[in-house]
Amino acid sequence: MGDAVIKPLFVKGPSLGVRLLVLTVLSVSLMVVDARFDTLKPLRSQIGLLATPLYWLADLPTRLWEDMTLSISSRSELLAENEKLKAEALLLQRRLQKLAALTEQNVRLRELLNSAELVDEQVLVSELIGVDPNPFTQRVIIDKGSKDGVSLGMPVLDARGLMGQVVEVMPYSARVLLLTDATHGIPVQVNRNGLRAIANGTGNPGLIELRHVADTADIKEGDLLVSSGLGQRFPAGYPVAIVKEVVRDSGQPFAIVRAEPTAALSRSRYLLLVFSDQRTPEQRATDSAEAQEAADRDAAARQEAAAPTPAVAPAPAAPAATGENRNGRN
């Protein structure tokens, strides 16, 4: 024993101070490079390949527990759940029937308005495999990565609303920054009247704040905030939060508006990744212009063929139709 303890004293390399200095300089330079440049991103995502199984393993007990409770839950419980799901499916189907007609109408109206906004985006289902261990950040890890086509900045939703965006992509997993993180902001719109604002996270799970809302702005408790699509990152029209509190203090320059996210940020296990439109605004404008020209040509052809009646019949229904469609999505 004594032999083993004493020996290293003689084969010791550089002194502690030297090692401290070298490693400190190395860490600081790594941090600066990582914060300012993109050169370390590939290295990071490669090491991330090793990190994914660790997250998977850490989450294993929870998953096993869930599987177990599922397999021993009683028959009556399952029957009750089945009933409930059937009822829910029926309700959703009814809404879907209405939605199909509304979507059709919406597309037509948008064509008339010369806007080529996407009505239906492509989505990818992913599962949560980990939560960021740091209690002062709001981030989660999901089980889809660059191999599944996930890219940086992709919006993430659950069944009830927007959750956040992808901030780091590894080969088989990705890190998602939630709406409630203190460094996150999202452009929103009050669904009732279209008032625009920016919603910032507070670091508190279950609370976001609207910044720079005028004292006189028409916003009140219970208002639904939907994503406005400005900033080109999040698709427009998805529910984000419900206003919980509006404080109008005449001593403050702006009203304090607090809202609660509609998505179950700390409970959802299955998330949807939305593939947003990859085209640039110019391309989109060109595409919509071409579509418009084609529509015009069609209309002209039809006018020539039939009596000269204007083809703009459903125009007065436009605002009501879009409102209905948004409600249908909630």
């Binding site: 083993a4 290293p8 502690l16 401290l20 090491i47 939560v131 261990p133 002062f136």
Partner: protein, 163 residues
């Protein structure tokens, strides 16, 4: 140098990987702010027990991996863990003679200083730092856990004759 060169070294690395696993294991939200510094605890034990096997470079490398795992700036946790190890190594001769509770008290300071550095780097990276002394809870809890971790790992080391 002969037969005691490296026996059962895998135990050390496996226990450190376990520490990494514990540090990302899901926990109830109200316990989250008091999550023990598992990696620092385990590293401290091995550095105290076998300073010729686990040193600052190992701590730094594990910290680097932790950075990737937590998604923090590359080098942030590496610096913090390396600092902890440095303190433990400088106080090594004294720490080994202390009884367990006194070691806990010293570790309160040894973990506390790097945790302050951690907070500073966290704020520097553009995050909003927490209010009050919340970030010191993990330090307190880790110090309280130290006697148990020490006993457990010591049992493991003696039984498997890790050297």
């Amino acid at each position: 140098m002969v037969e005691t060169r490296s026996r059962n070294g895998w135990v050390i690395w496996l226990s450190l990987v376990l520490a990494l696993l514990l540090s990302v294991a899901p926990m109830p939200a109200f316990l989250e702010s008091g999550r023990p510094l598992w990696l620092a605890l385990f590293l401290t034990y091995w550095v105290l027990a076998l300073p010729h096997r686990v040193g600052m470079v190992a701590a730094w490398l594990f910290g680097l991996f932790a950075d990737v795992l937590y998604g923090s700036l590359l080098g942030q946790n590496a610096l913090v863990l390396m600092l902890t190890t440095f303190f433990v190594l400088t106080l090594h001769q004294r720490l080994r003679l202390f009884p367990l509770w006194q070691q806990s008290l010293v570790l309160l300071v040894l973990f506390g200083i790097p945790q302050l550095v951690q907070l500073w780097l966290f704020a520097l990276a553009g995050n909003r730092p927490p209010e009050a002394l919340q970030f010191l809870y993990p330090v307190l809890i880790s110090a309280l856990l130290w006697p148990w971790v020490h006993t457990l790992l010591r049992g493991l080391r003696v039984r498997l004759q890790v050297n």
